[in-house]
């Protein structure tokens, strides 16, 4: 068990493993997204109140889900990095942050586009769900800014890990905001029974899993680059780059 973890954390081993794993994430992910998008846009019936506008849920919910998951990965990676001094765990945070920010942005934009015709507003200050999701975006920006402002990788890792851990409380707030307080944003649909017809729900789950897989593939790809950069002065990277395959 421990041997496996030690092996995983060894940069050259991880670098090769990630390359093998990427297609196993990317291909099923893309197939699921292709199915989910087609079913969601063309096969599924429209909503009894919102008409066709509800179909944006097939992008909005997976994006919002990943905006929180990416942050949790960043925070857990930071925590493991601080406690066990595992460099690879810090690299996970560094690789996940821009992806998380992108999905947060996508969730905010799709929500806004839906909100204009349905609620009658692009944006409402004071809504706890909307505001906490925007704070999540700013936390990602802060995390990336902090990282890039410190030249020493070890110091940058520590400082940004602390920031990521402090921000976890906001992810909890994003999730429970619609339950704790009155809000314009509707409550939980996805994991609640009886809120959505099965034929509407199945493509949504396909999109959720598909988005997660593609996120995994993108994360692994970014991690490989991150590992290569962090290990740029080591012998294995030198050997890898000078080898006939040239870093494959």
């Amino acid at each position: 068990m421990w041997k496996f973890f030690h092996q995983m954390a060894s940069p050259p081993y991880f670098y090769r493993l990630a390359a093998t794993l990427i297609p196993w994430f990317a291909i099923p992910g893309l197939i699921l997204i292709a199915y989910g998008a087609y079913a969601g846009l063309f096969l599924v019936s429209m909503d009894y109140q919102q008409g066709d506008a509800f179909r944006i849920i097939y992008v909005h919910v997976p994006s919002a889900y990943l905006s929180m998951m990416a942050y949790m990965m960043m925070a857990v990676g930071g925590g493991i990095g601080l406690i066990w001094r595992l460099k690879l765990a810090h690299a996970v945070g560094a690789a996940a942050a821009p992806l998380g920010a992108a999905f947060t942005f996508l969730a905010l934009v799709t929500g806004s586009i839906w909100g204009r015709p349905m609620w009658g507003t692009w944006w409402e200050w004071g809504d706890p769900r909307l505001t906490s999701e925007l704070i999540l975006l700013f936390l990602y920006f802060g995390y990336m800014a902090l990282r890039s402002s410190i030249d020493d990788t070890a110091k940058a890792d520590k400082a940004s890990a602390v920031l990521a851990l402090v921000g976890v409380v906001n992810v909890v707030i994003v999730h429970f905001s619609v339950e704790w307080w009155s809000s314009l944003h509707q409550g939980q649909t996805v994991f609640k029974k009886g809120t959505m017809d099965a034929d509407m729900r199945i493509p949504l789950f396909a999109m959720l899993i598909g988005f997660s897989f593609v996120f995994g593939a993108m994360l692994l790809r970014r991690l490989r680059t991150e590992v290569l950069f962090r290990e740029r002065r080591t012998r294995w990277v030198r050997e890898l780059v000078l080898s006939p395959e040239g870093g494959k």
Binding site: F54, W119, G126, L165, V169, W180, W181, L184, T195, M196
Partner: protein, 157 residues
């Protein structure tokens, strides 16, 4: 304690500390975290009188009265216990209809009337096909027929 355990404790305490601090702050500002005030609270007199605020509830069936040739509108909003009259002039969101959840921003006039300057439609967490909705009898009238009238549970302040 080993250094690793010390770090574990430090990380754990930091996360718990931030959570407690955030929890206490949010509790202190609970009123401001609420997007809208419940109708029952408005009727009971628990609303900010010196500034504008939002109310939220369902539009009562058969309560919408439009002024001919203008955008003036009057309707009642209920939280299934209490009812409040709302007046509004302007354009309404697509989802605005009887039985629909709405959020109105504005202020209280003295005579139990809420004067709204902005109406938003609130959508619930239910999604279904029109045919399904029909077979479930999800007709607006059915849904709010029982919501009309001020029930005995409603306490005025």
């Amino acid at each position: 304690m080993k250094p690793r355990q010390q770090r574990m404790l430090a990380v754990g305490l930091a996360v718990v500390g931030v959570a407690v601090a955030a929890g206490l702050t949010l509790r202190a500002f609970e009123e401001n975290m609420m997007f809208f005030v419940e109708i029952s609270d408005v009727i009971a007199g628990e609303y900010p009188s010196e500034r504008n605020f939002r109310i939220g509830g369902l539009v009562v069936a058969d309560s919408i009265q439009r002024e001919e040739g203008s955008l003036d509108l009057r309707f009642s909003v209920t939280d299934t216990r209490c009812e409040l009259d709302v007046s509004y002039t302007g354009v309404l969101p697509d989802l605005f209809r009887e039985g629909q959840g709405v959020v109105a921003h504005g202020r209280m006039a003295d005579n139990d009337l809420f004067i709204a300057d902005k109406i938003l439609a609130k959508h619930d967490e239910n999604y279904m096909a029109p045919e399904v909705a029909e077979s479930l009898g999800k007709h607006v009238q059915d849904q709010t027929a029982s919501l009309g009238g001020r029930s005995s549970e409603c306490e005025t302040g």
